[in-house]
């Protein structure tokens, strides 16, 4: 028997005796020490100082700094800026935030155009499994939801943004139900609620483990019903401004034909999602193919202020074996349902429902200190013992509540109802992003940002289920605010003047890199 098999047998053998075992929670001091010592956010070598722009002097990881300081694809190129489209609101991104924003803007009477890099709906949203947090239970309250999120966010959350998030949660949940999102229900018709890490009460609405898929399917259906014009495979490559700090449109590129599309818009909403495909610090990722942080570099060049650019979420349980599944997420809801984490000796080493930063740090500690299990491809991981879920909640629980997870592993001949799997933290979420106000407006006039691309709501660590809520609450708010603004604003001049200013700043700071941003697709893709 190989090392991996021996260790796995230990896990199998101890399962029954572990079933009712208690695991002590970390004290705030212990948690702090653990996170500071092992969390990737605290690894100094991984960080650089941002040399130019609105956040000059702050730090971020090398992968992001490189893009923020990157040059525009259009710098010193002559691009004819006569508009091919003229609209009230241009929405960039076809995930949950973009789709919700488009629906809200359209309903408010604006003319809307959507640009998306892949197809409408191919996004991080469609992948969400665990659920969406809303304070629904009678013993719960928005205030309690706020406090949990603030603690989870290490108190760095923007209080106003967070309060709006939790207060508007129940009404957007109602809106989702009204457009036909089929959340799991209890026998009496109430929404079925599950526990999530870092939450003091069960607060997760879900559709089995297809919550994001369900949300995205329905939102996409609504966008098509509204006959909103969507330009697929046509990402935005650069923003346009009037040269005086107001956003007036964007340049898109049709990936099929290579042709540029110039859109003149009274307002622009960036909803381009996260950064997983930058593979920060070499981590695998749970994110979709287009998650390359495009909003960050484009808005930064135009002068936008970012916030919390030094903190990322590494989801504790990304699959590491088989190799083809590396990075793929195993939802936190599995741990909420009772799955244990075990090291090579078959010992538990952390209370499984600590916040994500703490659990991820504990997994990294085990692996760094020689208590991890090595996969044939040379990755390290620890065991996630899922059969316990059935043992604790009854035979068939995994199959009924996590059908997607069962299917995904079964395609590689792993039966999660019978055997543990190996996991390691995977790059999951951008905690920070473009700084916004409660109407999603950035520091650039008429440029709005919604969803994962924005920052502040979640502080330094997002709680499970708060992002799906974020994209609907702030997707709506951005759509409403952008269309209100469009009513009073006129179309502005289209220029690329901000690129010159940015270039001068680069020169002055001695930035020599030849990086062009946004990245659009991961580095390993052959883009020719």
């Amino acid at each position: 028997m190989g090392k991996m098999e021996t260790s796995k047998k230990r896990v199998d053998d101890s399962r029954l005796s572990r079933k009712n075992e208690d695991m002590p929670r970390l004290s705030p001091e212990e948690k702090d020490a653990l996170v500071h010592r092992y969390h990737p956010d605290y690894k100094d070598e991984a960080y650089a100082e941002i040399r130019i722009g609105a956040n000059k002097g702050e730090r971020t990881v090398h992968e992001v700094a490189r893009l923020l300081e990157g040059e525009s694809p259009f710098f010193e190129k002559s691009v004819p800026l006569s508009p091919t489209h003229q609209v009230d609101v241009l929405i960039v991104g076809g995930g949950g935030a973009g789709a919700t924003a488009a629906l809200a803007a359209k309903a408010a009477g604006a003319s809307v155009l959507m640009s998306t890099k892949l197809r409408l709906g191919d996004s991080n949203t469609v992948m969400a499994e665990g659920g969406m947090q809303v304070a629904v239970a009678p013993e719960d309250s928005p205030v309690r939801h706020f406090v949990d999120s603030l603690k989870g966010g290490q108190m760095a959350n923007d209080r106003t943004l967070l309060r709006t998030l939790v207060e508007e949660g129940p009404s957007v949940a109602k809106w989702l139900i009204d457009i036909g999102v089929l959340f799991d229900r209890e026998g009496d018709g109430n929404l079925s609620l599950r526990a999530g890490g870092g939450s003091s009460l069960p607060r997760l609405l879900r559709c089995k483990d297809y919550t994001g898929l369900e949300l995205m399917r329905v939102l996409k259906d609504c966008v098509l019903n509204e006959e909103i014009n969507v330009l697929e495979f046509s990402p935005v490559l650069e923003l346009l401004t009037d040269g005086e700090g107001t956003c007036t449109g964007a340049i898109l590129k049709n990936l099929d034909t290579g042709k540029l599309i110039v859109v003149q818009a009274k307002t622009v909403i960036l909803a381009t999602g996260g950064i997983g495909r930058l593979h920060i610090q070499g981590f695998p990722t749970s994110n979709h193919y287009g998650a390359t942080g495009d909003a960050l570099s484009m808005s930064y060049r135009a002068g936008a202020v970012l916030t919390l650019q030094d903190t990322f979420q590494y989801h504790p349980t990304g699959s590491v074996f088989p190799e083809a599944m590396a990075g793929l997420l195993v939802t936190e809801a599995i741990r909420s349902a009772g799955a244990h984490l075990l090291n090579i000796h078959g010992e538990r080493f952390v209370y499984e429902l600590e916040t994500r930063d703490a659990v991820a740090s504990a997994v990294i500690r085990e692996c760094q200190e020689g208590r991890g299990v090595e996969t044939p491809a040379g990755r390290k991981g620890v065991w996630l013992d899922m059969p316990l879920v059935d043992l604790m909640n009854g035979e068939g629980t995994l199959k009924n509540r996590f059908p997607n997870m069962v299917r995904q592993f079964s395609r590689y001949e792993i039966n999660i109802q019978k055997e543990p799997v190996l996991i390691y933290p995977t790059l999951h979420y951008q905690n920070g992003g473009v700084k916004i106000n409660v109407d999603c407006e950035s520091s650039i006039k008429n440029l709005f940002v919604a969803g994962e691309a924005s920052g502040g709501i979640h502080g330094r660590n997002r709680l499970m289920g708060n992002s799906l809520l974020d994209i609907v609450v702030y997707g709506k708010r951005s759509g409403n605010a952008a269309s209100r603004r469009a009513e009073e604003a006129a179309h502005g001049k289209l220029t690329l003047d901000h690129l010159k200013i940015f270039h001068e700043a680069r020169k002055a700071a001695g930035v020599m890199s030849e990086t062009i941003s946004p990245l659009l697709f991961p580095d390993y893709v052959n883009k020719n």
Partner: protein, 191 residues
């Protein structure tokens, strides 16, 4: 694939088996016929034949949700061709999510919304079922419409949710908020 130099821009989405962008026919070298699959969920073996299939090109009816509770005819109003199903099984055999699509279509014909909803809950909207249907049925589209109807007109009300919305609009939490916002405005706030 990328490491072999493929571009694959159009046939990739989530890379997690849920967006339906990456449908392929894959035939292991020891098999006579290929099977449909999601490429991102397929373990490549030596000598495997892989050919990418087109994305869903079926038309979606502009099916808005009705004002009043739906009847079976609500479904047929937008997807009348569903009645033409000849129970040939083609859709069920091609579904990469292993949904019994034909049974779902039968549930539609019976007007059993909860059953349809359950049947299609893992549908990734890849559209292969519609592409192979000789009778021009669009199972995934009528399936999604049925799910939305079931969700929007769920037989029971989520009363806790409705109560909470009322409480919030009645200002029930105002006092707690004022205390809290004050206490938490400094980073050391004791919450």
């Amino acid at each position: 694939m990328w490491h072999l130099g493929h571009t694959l821009l159009g046939k990739v989405g989530c890379l997690g088996g849920v967006c339906g962008a990456c449908t392929v026919m894959a035939r292991p070298s020891d098999q006579a016929l290929p099977k449909t699959a999601l490429a991102c969920q397929t373990m490549v073996s030596e000598g495997m034949e892989i050919s990418f299939l087109p994305s869903d090109a079926s038309k979606k009816a502009l099916a808005l949700l009705p004002e009043a509770a739906p009847s079976r005819d609500t479904l047929f109003q937008y997807y009348p061709e569903t009645r033409r199903c000849v129970a040939c099984q083609a859709c069920s055999s091609i579904c990469p999510q292993e949904i019994d699509v034909m049974a779902g279509v039968r549930d539609v014909l019976m007007g059993d919304l909860p059953a349809v909803a359950e049947r299609f809950d893992s549908c990734v909207m890849c559209g292969l079922c519609a592409a192979v249907c000789e009778s021009t049925v669009r199972p995934h589209r009528v399936g999604l419409y049925a799910r939305r109807l079931h969700g929007a007109f769920y037989p029971q009300t989520p009363s806790h949710l409705l109560d909470r919305i009322d409480e919030i609009s009645a200002g029930r939490y105002q006092a707690e908020w004022s205390d809290l916002m004050e206490a938490s405005s400094s980073d050391k706030g004791n919450v």
